[in-house]
């Protein structure tokens, strides 16, 4: 029994955890290097998981190289839980409805970072009581093995958003790699069960101090140039700020930010009529940066790119709180890295923050 809840093991123990999950019938989703990018994919062997790799992330740029710690790639849990294309149903020629059948899979995310854990919690709020059935189906059997982030990337700001770099709750098991030590924490009943599969002992004082030190340093590294104190109100006060027009003057309107965002949930429904008289209705990801997003027949509510960009920013940091009680941004930095022209969300927010605070 450890009073801190933390246990000490070795990185090799992770393979036991991995096997344990497979044994319990879970499909394990973890990071694997595919074509020089860290991808979140179904992994069958522990050895497939990315190892000795580091991701270099900067605005508009992503590379990998040899290293000892990585954060993430373009994929987030959303890829699995809220797929980009999902056939809702087929309306047959006689108006009967055929719903798709899906396998009852049990997914385990292995080694996702606290920001992505937070993104799942955000999705929980968004889907709420009436939300997406497919999401809820997967969510009800979901296991979350989270790796705490000891070395945030230059695009990360989870500490500011309060989502990392250490996972606080909502996981089944979290682990932290410190050199050849592994610090493990169980966050659920299943987590305790999984912990017992590993060869761990209660954490000792020296390692605890090391853990604390590593997490504190990571925390300092994952901060943006603004705080969340009154952030929704401050940003809404800056609703007419020229910062939006200024930043958006570089924006392509391609919607990559929406598409890589782990929490963006907007969807369009596409009709696919067929010659046999049936027709599908397919749900596909949409994004507020797309021109057609706010278009209606005979009108347009946000024809200008700055207005669409402003909606993106304000939704994440202001409206989302009002709608769902959490921020829509988890500080993962994907929209910064994967923006083809490298627009930095943090910069936009902090400029408006400063402008409003200085009464500008």
């Amino acid at each position: 029994m450890s009073v801190t809840g933390l246990y000490l093991g070795r990185p090799e123990d992770l393979s036991k955890l991995f096997s344990g999950l497979l044994h319990l019938g879970y499909e394990v989703i973890g990071y694997k290097v595919v074509d020089n990018v860290l991808r979140l994919v179904n992994v069958r062997n522990f050895s497939e998981l990315a190892k000795d790799i580091e991701d270099l992330q900067a605005p508009g740029k992503y590379r990998i190289q040899r290293g000892d710690f990585f954060r993430h790639g373009p994929d987030s849990p959303k890829k699995f839980l809220y797929p980009s294309e999902l056939k809702l149903f087929t309306v047959m020629g006689d108006w009967s409805i055929r719903y798709p059948e899906v396998d009852e899979v049990k997914l385990a995310f292995f080694g996702i970072k606290p920001c992505d854990l937070a993104s799942i919690k955000v999705m929980d709020r968004v889907q709420g009581v009436i939300g997406d059935e497919y999401f809820k189906l997967l969510r009800s059997n979901l296991v979350l093995i989270v790796e705490n982030c000891t070395r945030p990337a230059s695009t990360c700001f989870c500490a500011t958003m309060g989502t990392g770099p250490r996972a606080k709750n909502g996981f089944d098991l979290s682990y932290t790699r410190i050199g050849d030590k592994l610090v493990v924490e169980a966050g659920s009943e299943l987590g305790v069960k999984l912990l017992n599969l590993m060869d761990v002992v209660p954490i000792d004082n020296v390692t605890y101090r090391e853990f604390e030190d590593v997490m504190c340093k990571a925390y300092m590294a994952a901060r943006a140039d603004f705080t969340t104190d009154n952030l929704p109100e401050v940003l809404e006060l800056g609703i007419n700020s020229s910062v939006f027009t200024d930043v958006a003057s570089r924006c392509l309107g391609c919607a990559n930010c929406n598409l890589v965002c782990p929490t963006c949930f907007c969807f369009d429904v596409v009709d696919v009529p067929r010659l046999d008289g049936s027709a599908d209705r397919v749900r596909v990801w949409d994004g507020c940066l797309n021109y057609t997003y706010a278009m209606v027949a005979g009108g347009h509510f946000r024809p200008d790119i700055w207005a669409r960009y402003r909606h993106f920013v304000l939704h994440k940091f202001a409206y989302w709180i009002k709608q769902f009680g959490v921020f829509g941004c988890v500080g993962c930095g994907r929209c910064i890295t994967w923006c083809p022209v490298g627009i930095d969300l943090r910069e936009t927010v902090s400029r408006i923050f400063k402008e409003v605070k200085s009464g500008g």
């Binding site: 740029k61 009529p273 990801w285 994967w338």
Partner: protein, 255 residues
């Protein structure tokens, strides 16, 4: 229901777009229950004169004769649909618009005086009112089929107009600009092809033409950061849809 009378006709182009009708294979059999290909030289011998309900026209308009024919087709058809990069933007034929056609003629043909060519190769819309355009080089048979299915259900046909990035990311591709520094026209190009090129790790060539509200001038700035020369940037934008105005203007700016 009366069958839809359809004409498929080609101007200056490679036949690739009308071939997409034939590539439908299985669906083609079902399609012929609802559609009568009244004129389709590529597919049959027995071609009948108009009027037609719908005329699908492929290829750029590049000779005076083609102007006459496309005008006649317009008169004979309720709906005219331009299909493919050539019929919608002039296609690769329009590459000659960047130079002097008389010089081309002298260079290529032993008797250039026999060649009757217009000064520029243009999309069908330069000469007639085009009701709808289906983009791509070639057009995708899925889009073609969707278009016809929409028409058959009396729907004003709609095809995607936002960026290719949407389709590319939905498909699970990784951005080639960000992960490899490969120049890609995806962020300014209309979706519709299901991101074929980026799926194979290559940049988009923009064959579907500019998306709605495109910003090629900003993407060109990014290409500069990727150490492309002005000439390279100009040529990137000067491919299958070089004559599309937003691409043409930025390409011109870079040389």
């Amino acid at each position: 229901m009366r069958k839809l009378k359809v004409a498929v006709y080609k101007f200056s182009g490679c036949d690739g777009c009308q071939l997409q009708f034939l590539n439908m294979e299985e669906e083609l059999l079902q399609l012929t229950d609802k559609v009568e290909f009244t004129m389709f030289y590529e597919a049959k011998r027995d071609n009948k004169p108009g009027p037609y309900d719908v005329a699908f026209v492929e290829g750029a308009i590049s000779t005076p004769h083609e102007v006459d024919v496309v005008r006649k087709l317009r008169e004979e058809s309720d709906i005219v649909v331009a299909i493919g990069a050539c019929a919608t933007y002039g296609g690769i034929q329009a590459l000659r618009n960047w130079a002097n056609v008389e010089e081309f003629k002298r260079y290529v043909y032993p008797n250039p005086e026999w060649i009757e060519a217009l000064k520029t190769a243009e999309p069908a819309s330069a000469y007639i009112k085009v009701d709808y355009e289906i983009y791509g080089c070639p057009v995708s048979k899925e889009q073609l089929l969707l278009f016809i299915n929409q028409l058959l259900r009396h729907k004003v046909p709609v095809l995607p107009v936002d960026s290719l990035c949407n389709e590319c990311k939905r498909k699970g591709n990784v951005c080639v600009i960000v992960a490899k520094g490969t120049p890609c026209l995806g962020p300014v190009t209309r979706a519709g092809c299901n991101a074929i090129c980026p799926t194979y790790g290559r940049g988009c060539y923009g064959c579907y033409g500019p998306m709605i509200d495109p910003k090629p001038e900003l993407l060109a700035e990014k290409f500069k950061e990727l150490n492309l020369t002005s000439k390279e940037i100009a040529l990137l934008l000067r491919q299958f849809t070089n004559w599309a105005k937003p691409f043409r203007e930025v390409s011109r700016r870079y040389g």
